[in-house]
């Protein structure tokens, strides 16, 4: 199955390259590449469960990652945007007491996870279609799936043993506001600020002991990107 999907992806990429080679004027499609600078305003309920002292919190560290998007102009003012970040490795730190017994906690990286977090947005682009500089706002839906979920050695020590982590998929609204600058007919620069609601319920399983925390990640990201239309 994996092979098939890869093959499909590669052939699609080749098809895309071929179509681009024969394209004349700039079309309604665009590929954007840039950087996400993601800041998490994490709020999480204290971790609760058996053998868990009160006051154990978590914090998610900021990440930077590659931004990729495919957009299609639906009209002079409306653009559909499918945006991805290359799944960043996000690190979760313990927040609370300096140590659990004699095991360090506060500030320790206790777990890591990667995010596959595409957003589908509809952007409204203001101004004259021929203007070089155009502001836009967008609304859409974010889907976040967490994978490579790992408890670190420090996390295992704090939890009391090898720990598996469940983070169910989150689906929530997302919004963006940005500026587009036309360099040429085909090339554009973009700067935008996006926020998304990413809520999940963390469940850590250590030797059958389940501990949970409701987590609101509130990722907000500055995106700087360049786009090529075809």
């Amino acid at each position: 199955m994996q092979k098939k999907i890869v093959a499909l992806g590669v052939s699609a990429a080749l098809a895309l390259a071929a179509s681009g080679a024969y394209a004349g004027d700039a079309g309604p499609n665009e590929i954007r590449v840039g950087m996400y600078f993601v800041h998490f305003d994490t709020t999480a309920s204290d971790i609760s469960g058996p053998y868990t002292p009160p006051g154990l919190g978590i914090h998610v560290n900021n990440v930077e990652t590659l931004y990729l998007a495919y957009t299609r102009s639906l009209s002079d003012h409306l653009v559909a945007e499918l945006a991805f970040g290359y799944p960043p490795l996000t690190k979760t730190e313990g927040r609370g007491p300096a140590a659990l017994g004699s095991v360090p906690y506060n500030g320790q990286t206790i777990s890591t996870a990667r995010w596959f977090s595409p957003s589908l947005l509809f952007d409204y682009v203001f101004g004259d279609p021929d203007a070089r500089l155009r502001p836009y706002v967008g609304l859409g839906v974010n889907y976040t799936k967490f994978f490579d979920r790992r408890s670190t050695a420090a996390g295992d020590a704090a939890s009391g043993g090898p720990t598996s982590i469940e983070l169910p998929v989150s689906v929530g609204p997302t919004a963006t506001a940005g500026l587009t600058y036309e360099i040429t007919d085909r090339w554009h620069l973009y700067a935008s600020y996006s926020v998304a609601q990413v809520n999940t319920r963390l469940t850590a399983d250590t030797a059958g002991i389940l501990r949970t925390s409701k987590v609101h990640f509130w990722p907000n990201a500055l995106v700087i990107s360049a786009g090529y239309s075809f």
Binding site: Q2, A15, L68, Y70, R150, A157, I165, A207
Partner: protein, 530 residues
């Protein structure tokens, strides 16, 4: 449209999302429920304290400071694990149970490498949530016993395995097989096997089993420890040494003494634990609880303990009397064909008085009589009549003020009362055995909860081994002498302070005050075993 989907797949391919990520695993779960199987491997480490932090935590409370003074400053840190394992119930059905594993940690010499194991049996509790592994929760009723065991043994380099008995914590048995020797020995041995398996996958795999096995326990745990030595010897296992403390080893004699008026402290809680245990295991205690219990308390008493409600609540709710085990006006014996036995039984049924007892003894025993009372008159009369008709030789000797000797230690030959048959079965005199490796029986001769006569009866039975030095008895209340003189003096000093501050009420704490002293004695005893 197709082209759009192609773009999406291209992006996914770039992102590398077509391969699955790997998530960190939790513990492996056993697929078998064979005896001694560790359910989750590795088990949960509940807490990890280095020596300095453990010492600091103990120093934070007055009782902790006293414990530190008695047990000594921790030489090692301690990792506390919560071990779930499979064992068997009295009917040999598979039962889930839990235990604590305490592993010494740190680089000091006594804390790493091959270390001896102490298999520890806990004392009686009415709290069904009792969990000796839950060191991190000070509200758990096991917390103080867990801290004591950790300070005395684990922090001094002993690996500790301590099961929660069936009927407690995660056990679904529905009752506790109280003073059921064979059953609790099974639990102990299975916990030991699971603890040994857990040791291999602990955070400190360099701390290993040296092969030395010490068995100890206090109160009910003293009994269970002795029963475990007996069972392990019978199974061909190796016990390096043992130190049962303040346990009802001669339980037939003890319960006979109680029915004969020597009512012990906490008897109204011990009685339902005992009768439910034997009724569920053997089915011969009663047809209905009202055969044994007064109508005030009979309804629901067979499922009352262990309970999630504290003892004080059960008393307040009228589920159990605080102290009145028997009716203060129990009728005389019902023996009709033997006036001598009738008179003997009637004397035992009468309210204890001075003489033959001392004034303080009589006052203490009399607290066990009142109204409303727990055991109905008919049952008590039947029991005491059986006591005189089918006597426990040792207890009859003691009740008559005699001296224990080789000729008067036998169990009742053929008790007619079901409960006495069960007591005989579980009495440690049963089975014609003796400890093959060193054993120390610690206690205090003023213990008002588990009488010291239990140790004296066993010592008399094993007198050749006592004389040979294999079995020894330590009376904390005795004249300080020998290897434990300091400990005896310290206990007597502590109890004297208790009397000074609490007066006559101090006796209620006698049994629990002895506990850490006996455990420190056990440690000293184990340390000198080659």
């Amino acid at each position: 449209m197709l082209r759009k989907i192609g773009v999406l797949w291209a992006v996914l391919a770039v992102l590398g999302l077509t391969g699955c990520g790997s998530n960190s695993p939790t513990a492996a779960v056993a697929t078998s429920n064979d005896r001694g199987t560790l359910v989750e491997n590795p088990p949960l480490r509940v807490a990890s304290l280095n020596a300095a932090d453990f010492s600091a935590q103990l120093s934070a409370t007055t009782t902790g400071q006293q414990l530190l003074q008695l047990a000594g400053a921790p030489a090692c840190g301690v990792d506390f694990y919560y071990v779930k394992y499979w064992t068997v119930g009295p009917d040999k059905s598979a039962q889930l149970a839990s235990a604590a594993l305490m592993v010494p940690t740190g680089s000091a010499a006594p804390c790493t490498g091959p270390r001896p194991i102490v298999l520890y049996a806990h004392g009686t509790t009415t709290d069904s949530a009792y969990n000796i592994a839950n060191i991190s929760d000070s509200s758990n009723s096991a917390n103080s016993e867990a801290a004591t065991v950790a300070a005395v043994f684990a922090a001094q380099g002993y690996i500790v395995v301590a099961p929660n008995y069936l009927g407690y914590d995660i056990s679904t048995l529905g009752y506790h097989p109280y003073i059921n020797g064979a059953e609790n020995a099974d639990v102990m041995m299975d916990a030991l096997a699971a603890g040994r398996a857990a040791l291999l996958t602990s955070f400190t795999p360099n701390t290993t089993d040296s092969g030395k096995l010490f068995i100890t326990g206090y109160s009910e745990g003293g009994y269970v420890a002795m029963a475990t030595v007996k069972a392990m010897q019978a199974a061909g296992g190796t016990v390096t040494a043992s130190a049962p403390a303040s346990g009802p080893y001669a339980v037939e004699a003890l319960v006979d003494a109680i029915f004969a008026g020597q009512v012990n402290i906490d008897s109204t809680f011990l009685a339902p634990l005992l009768t439910t245990s034997y009724q569920r295991a053997y089915g011969n205690v009663y047809s209905s609880p009202s055969d044994l219990y007064a109508s005030t308390y009979a309804t629901g008493i067979d499922t009352l303990l262990p309970s999630t409600s504290p003892a004080s609540t059960l008393i307040k709710e009228g589920k159990l009397p605080e102290t009145a085990l028997f009716d203060s006006t129990t009728p005389p014996s019902a023996i009709t064909n033997n006036p001598t036995l009738n008179a003997q039984a009637s004397a035992l049924l009468a309210l204890p008085s001075s003489p033959p007892y001392s004034a303080s003894q009589a006052a203490l025993f009399d607290v066990g009589f009142g109204s409303p009372y727990l055991i109905n008159d008919t049952y008590r009369v039947g029991y005491v009549d059986d006591e005189v008709m089918n006597p426990d030789q040792a207890e009859m000797t003691l009740l008559a003020g005699g001296t224990l000797g080789s000729g008067n230690l036998a169990l009742a030959a053929s008790p007619a009362v079901g409960l006495r048959q069960d007591l005989k079965l579980n009495d440690m005199r049963n089975g014609g055995w003796f400890p093959e490796e060193p054993m120390l029986m610690c206690g205090g001769d003023q213990d008002p909860t588990v009488y010291f006569t239990n140790a004296e009866i066993m010592a008399a039975l094993w007198s050749p081994y006592v004389q040979g030095g294999l079995v020894s008895v330590l009376d904390l209340n005795g004249t300080p002498s020998g290897a434990f003189a300091t400990l005896q003096g310290a206990f007597q000093n502590t109890y004297a302070q208790l009397v000074a501050s609490q007066g006559a009420a101090a006796i209620e704490s006698y049994h629990s005050t002895e506990a850490p002293f006996c455990l420190v004695a056990a440690r000293g005893f184990f340390a000198q075993v080659p």
